[in-house]
Amino acid sequence: MEVDRVDGRTRNQLRPLACSRNLLNRAHGSARWSQGDTIVLAAVYGPKAGTRKNENPEKASIEVIWKPKTGQIGKPEKEYEMILKRTLQSICLLTVYPNTTTSIIVQVVNDDGSLLPCAINAACAALVDAGIPLKHLSVAICCCLEENGTVVLDPTKLEEQKMQAFAYLVFPNSVLSVLPQGPSSVESEPLEHGIITSVTHGVMSVDDYLHCLERGRSASAKISDFLRRSLQSQLPSDRSKAA
């Protein structure tokens, strides 16, 4: 495939990923996730006792605080908070610690496109670092649609502005389990094909969206592998610390 993007990537190529965990001393879990120049730092505090008003006390509650790089939080940040909260609620086992609140603080270090997916990946890694019980991991990706209908993955800010439409998609990662496949693969589709979150901007045809889904799915498998590898590679040090 020919190279046709400003930064010399092919359409399906992601920017270099990096993930480091356990950076903050006081937080119960923290992670820094970067995709090229988009960098997000996430910290997890909790589970703390009690839930906020209007939350179900029979379940654990999740609270997300979004800190932009500069300035006050506005409507877009509020929306990001809500999407992040609902997404993380769906991957956490909320029944394990009822009547507790887990706070996730997301600090944007630098925004160069695909900010929300980057934040979701960072938050997921931070939850793992904090040892919050999860059903599975979540993997987020941004797919952009050019005017001529081709799909471009993981756009930079410049590309995001030029594109006709883009979709943020979040998928569950594939579960590696010794247990036989449970009721997860209903409808003959594997678990990792289900969409946890989908947010789109701009007008596209339904077929283009389905095309985005397909591309996003295959790219999310790669990010999922990376996430799993980077979580595993830091395990030995954690164990030595515990000992």
Partner: protein, 303 residues
């Protein structure tokens, strides 16, 4: 599932209302098994929808939309502004969504509802990215003056599917919007509305000779569905939204292009078939809503 087992034993001797409050999920699942909902709707049908144009007399354009009990009041106020340099021949639209304490027991006075800014952002994304409004039509004098349309949507009764009702009210308000006749006065730059008193003095420089309406193209319409197990419930009520927590909002424009597919998390994963079913339900709903809106407009013109 201890609780569901217990509910099975108790349900024989329990009143329906008590069962509904104690085991809401079981209550709904029993209905879903019969492909019906507690308000006697089939799963894929939306509630009765009405649109009334011109609900606010002082606004330049207004509409009231009701989907079942969910009630939205939208009003547009036009003001003249100097357009920014980079888009000198375009007006602009500012959209705000309000949830006063009257709309729901969850909203407390003084503390704004959590969902309000989110719905507000979703609305402006849908309205602006759909390209329904040609912003050039809101221009008066290129580089000097343009209309700023302030669209405020008030939720009077929040009974589920807030975004759908808000979008419908917003679209209806824009279709009711009349741009007033304006002129430039003697002082030069100031642009004043001449209203109806055009008799006598000659209009020096009629910038906008007569009242006109915007031409709306590609009007977006939306449908929210709730996913629960394999069931898809169209147009949920507030109770359904609180019991089953996976909403999917699909926005399609009148030429069936996808403006937004919005699924913020939720315990149920949307597989390909569910996505396609939601889109198909929305296609049907768009036809219904188009008819409701055009009926409301033609009713208005008869009056």
């Amino acid at each position: 599932m201890g609780s569901s087992g217990a509910s099975g034993d108790l349900s024989g001797e329990m009143e329906v209302d008590a069962f509904r409050r104690l085991f809401p999920l079981r209550f709904y699942e029993r209905h879903l098994l019969e492909s019906v909902r507690p308000d006697a709707r089939p799963l894929g049908r939306a509630r009765d929808t009405t649109v009334a144009l011109g609900a606010v007399a002082t606004a330049d354009g207004s509409a009231m939309a009701k989907i079942g009990c969910t009630t939205m009041l939208a009003a547009i106020k036009l003001e003249v502004m100097t357009p920014p340099l980079d888009s000198s021949d375009e007006g602009s639209v500012a959209i705000d969504f309000h949830m006063p304490p009257i709309c729901s027991p969850i909203v407390r006075p003084g503390r704004p509802a959590e969902v309000a800014p989110v719905v507000s952002k979703q609305l402006s994304d849908a309205i602006i990215s759909s390209g329904m409004i040609n912003l050039k039509e809101l221009s008066l004098v290129s580089g000097k003056a343009a209309w700023m349309a302030y669209l405020d949507i008030y939720c009077l009764d929040a009974d589920g599917a807030l975004f759908d009702a808000a979008l419908l009210a917003a679209v209806a308000a824009f279709s009711h919007l009349q741009i007033p006749a304006v002129t430039v006065n003697d002082d030069g730059r100031v642009v004043i509305m001449s209203g109806e008193n055009e008799e006598g003095k000659l209009l020096k420089d009629p910038v906008n000779k007569e009242k006109r309406k915007l031409t709306l193209t590609c009007i977006p319409f939306s449908l929210t569905c709730i996913l629960h197990k394999n069931y898809i419930l169209a147009d949920p009520t507030a109770e359904e939204e609180s019991v089953m927590e996976t909403p999917v909002t699909v926005v399609l424009d009148s030429s069936s292009r996808l403006v937004s597919l919005y699924k913020p998390g939720g315990p149920v994963l949307a597989y390909m078939s569910a996505v396609q079913d939601c889109v198909a339900l929305t296609r049907q709903r768009v036809k219904e809503l188009q008819k409701i809106l055009s009926d409301a407009i033609s009713d208005m013109e008869v009056d």
